[in-house]
């Protein structure tokens, strides 16, 4: 796998980025296998939960309520976290978040940090910034470690290395850990990661994490994980830095009883993830004695201001929409050119880019609605996709160079034709005659010239029927009257 930079500003449009993946049978097989396994487990555990829909409704309502009152809850979180000994920082954008974290690390005299998997740190491209400043970041989540050592990028929100198979992991570990003795047995590979990181956990005094939830009522932070690398990073170092999007806040501690139930089932198909950690500022005698939290906006408050799009921020990053998406399942995550791929990425990434980049992503969907159906916080992803498509098209249409674009000329003509029944009927008759030379004996059109080729390049088109419904209806009435 070649090194792909997941920067939405530089990424090629989705159809172009997806092509190499579609020609890579190994990668498609890896993605299909992984998403099949998670989906199977999820389906089983959702089916056993008789109150699943009630939990979804509650989770959606809690998240929506938290966003409607975001200012109140964030300041409450800040106040309680500070009172408990934490330091709260606010970052308006990615550059500011990177600068705040670098400043803290410099003050600590850190040359190394251990990291818990955090998609938000990939969003702000933290690791390259740390390297550039002479600070080495050790990814401690197994999947993130595989990617870091293999110079690869995450392709899934929950299982970021699901596009890599065991023999590829063996190669990466053998090369970078100098372990030519390794077999491709997952047990052996996991054990290799354990011994590789053990000493780091015990010796590196500074750690960086993301956050799954911030609790306004108590100023606590919750991190959900499986391996225990999170607990190591949250417990052993002297200094802890947490990077969290401003949307992560929940009103009260008790709200965890809803979100934790839907998160693990949706994300990994487990009744509960192996480890959930909750901490509040600093606790004398237990864990890091310096705690910094960086609250990141980076485009989120813009999303909050928009009526249809606001629901995007309810996301609890379970990736169920990725696992179920017929597009993601073919292309994997890299084609989205962003750390957030799949359906949620298709709506989140262009919005975080303030619709200046990644405009092809809202079109990377068949609008089948499977993502909405599995979403534990009921984000109507198709609704947001359509809203964003409208914005992309509206913006494109206004560009002067597009005035004579064949598609927009065609669309303007169509809008005139559709506006009057007489014009529409004439167009139908005309179309029937015009399309006849292209229609095969079986009634299908396989190839059209000009603008029509955009359709027939990838799919066939039904030829126009000999009679429209209205014509048939009129004829039938005439026959009956006779």
């Amino acid at each position: 796998m070649s090194h792909t930079e997941l920067d939405p500003r530089l990424a090629p449009p989705f159809p172009q980025a997806a092509l190499p993946v579609l020609r890579n049978p190994q990668l498609r097989k890896n993605v299909a296998h992984a998403t099949d396994v998670i989906q199977g487990k999820r389906a089983m555990l959702v089916a056993e939960k008789s109150d699943w829909q009630e939990l979804r409704s509650a989770a959606a309502a809690i998240r929506a309520h938290a966003l409607e009152n975001l200012g109140t809850y964030l300041t409450q979180f800040e106040e309680r976290c500070t009172a408990a000994g934490g330091t709260v920082h606010w970052a308006a954008d990615a550059a500011e978040a990177r600068r705040i974290i670098l400043d803290i690390l410099r003050a600590e005299g850190a040359s190394e940090v251990i990291k818990i998997k955090t998609m938000t740190s990939a969003e702000i491209q933290l690791n390259p910034a740390l390297e550039a400043n002479g600070i080495h970041a050790y990814e401690t989540d197994l999947a993130e470690l595989i990617l870091q050592l293999g110079k690869d990028e995450p392709s899934h929100i929950v299982a970021p290395a699901l596009h890599v198979n065991r023999s590829q992991v063996r190669e990466i570990f053998a090369r970078s850990m100098g372990r030519s003795d390794l077999t491709d047995d997952p047990q052996a590979l996991t054990a290799a990661a354990r011994s590789y990181l053990r000493q780091k956990f015990l010796s590196v005094p500074t750690a960086i994490s993301g956050a799954n939830f911030l609790i306004a009522e108590t100023g606590s932070v919750a991190v959900v994980e499986s391996e225990g690398n999170g607990r190591m990073c949250l417990t052993l170092p002297r200094t802890m830095i947490t990077l969290a999007g401003i949307e992560k806040v929940l009103p009260r501690f008790t709200d965890l009883e809803v979100v934790l139930q839907v998160l693990a089932r949706s994300a990994t198909g487990e009744r509960m993830n192996p480890y959930t950690s909750l901490w509040t500022g600093v606790t004398p005698g237990d864990g890091p004695q310096r705690f910094h939290i960086v609250l990141l906006d980076n485009g989120r408050s813009d999303i909050l201001a928009k009526k249809v799009e606001r629901q995007t921020l309810r996301c609890i990053r379970c990736a169920a929409c990725q696992n179920t998406c017929p597009v993601y399942r073919q292309t994997g995550g890299h084609a989205y050119g962003s750390v957030y791929g799949g359906p949620i990425g298709a709506i989140l990434t262009p919005q975080l880019m303030r619709m200046e980049h990644a405009q092809s992503l809202p079109f990377a969907s068949s609008l089948c609605g499977a993502c909405y159906e599995v979403c534990p916080v009921k984000i109507n992803i198709p609704e947001v996709l359509i809203e964003l498509r409208t914005q992309v098209v509206d913006r494109e249409r206004e560009q002067p160079v597009r005035v004579f674009d064949a598609m927009y000329v065609g669309m303007r003509a169509a809008s005139g034709i559709f506006a009057a029944a007489r014009r529409f009927r004439s167009a139908q008759r005309l179309g029937r005659i015009a399309l006849l030379p292209f229609t095969g004996k079986d009634g299908w059109i396989r190839s059209l010239p000009g603008l029509g080729a955009r359709w027939t390049a990838t799919r066939d088109l039904r030829g126009m029927p000999g009679q429209s419904f209205r014509e048939w209806w009129a004829e039938r009435k005439d026959n009956q009257q006779q």
Binding site: H65, N69, A161, G228, T254, P274, D286
Partner: protein, 211 residues
């Protein structure tokens, strides 16, 4: 831009974005999900045991009177000799013949060097097979139940609830620290094959005390 400016900038943007009133008040949020389970206490404990065993945790049961002897038996059967324990653990449980390290600010290296750790818990949730630590004096600070490879957790049957919401109902006050453990450390990052034991303790042993 100074950080103080970013704070007001972000909060201004948020207040501008959310100025339109509407939506539910917190008290009126829909909460029609199951709060209380339907199982009898005995069945609830059985469900917990079943769930823990699905995670490959080992579960034993005993009565209050049998507890110290049962702990010694488990240690012997598992060849654990050097054990770290939190300072608040009942001294009567520390059987003779074992090297008990009582955690008085032990170094991480000293904790790591132990064969195992013995702690109590705050609660357990049967539905998901979850053990809840609030890190009180008998549950130990977080590093204690993390570094040793073997964790023996003493749980009273009366601490077992069926559903997650029942646990939250038992929290009269939100904990300052909490760890929810559902089976031993695990990963499925390589081809979705579940592998037990990555960084946390690889072996979880639960002793359920019928009280």
């Amino acid at each position: 831009m100074t950080p103080a400016d970013s704070r007001s900038l972000i909060l201004d943007r948020i207040s501008h974005a959310t100025q339109r009133p509407g939506g539910n008040t917190y008290e009126h949020l829909p909460r029609a999900y199951t709060h209380k389970g339907a199982l009898e206490p005995g069945d609830c404990v059985h469900l917990l045991i079943e769930r823990l065993r699905e995670y490959d945790a080992v579960v034993d049961t005993c009565t209050v009177a049998e507890l110290p002897a049962c702990i010694a038996k488990i240690l012997q059967a598992n060849s654990k000799h050097i054990l770290v324990v939190p300072p608040g653990l009942d001294p009567a449980w520390l059987a003779a013949g074992y090297d008990w390290k009582i955690d008085q600010d032990l170094s991480h290296a000293a904790i790591e060097a132990c064969d195992g750790v013995v702690t109590t818990a705050f609660a357990a949730i049967a539905d998901s097979g979850t053990i809840v630590l609030h890190h009180s004096a008998a549950e130990g600070r977080r590093a204690l139940s993390l570094l040793p490879d073997w964790h023996l957790c003493i749980l009273r049957a009366s601490q077992v609830v069926e559903t997650l919401p029942e646990y939250f109902a038992r929290c009269t006050q939100p904990p300052r620290l909490a760890t929810y453990i559902s089976g031993p450390s695990a990963t499925a990052d390589i081809e979705m094959t579940r592998i037990k034991g990555v960084h946390g303790p690889r072996f979880l042993h639960v002793l359920l005390v019928r009280d």
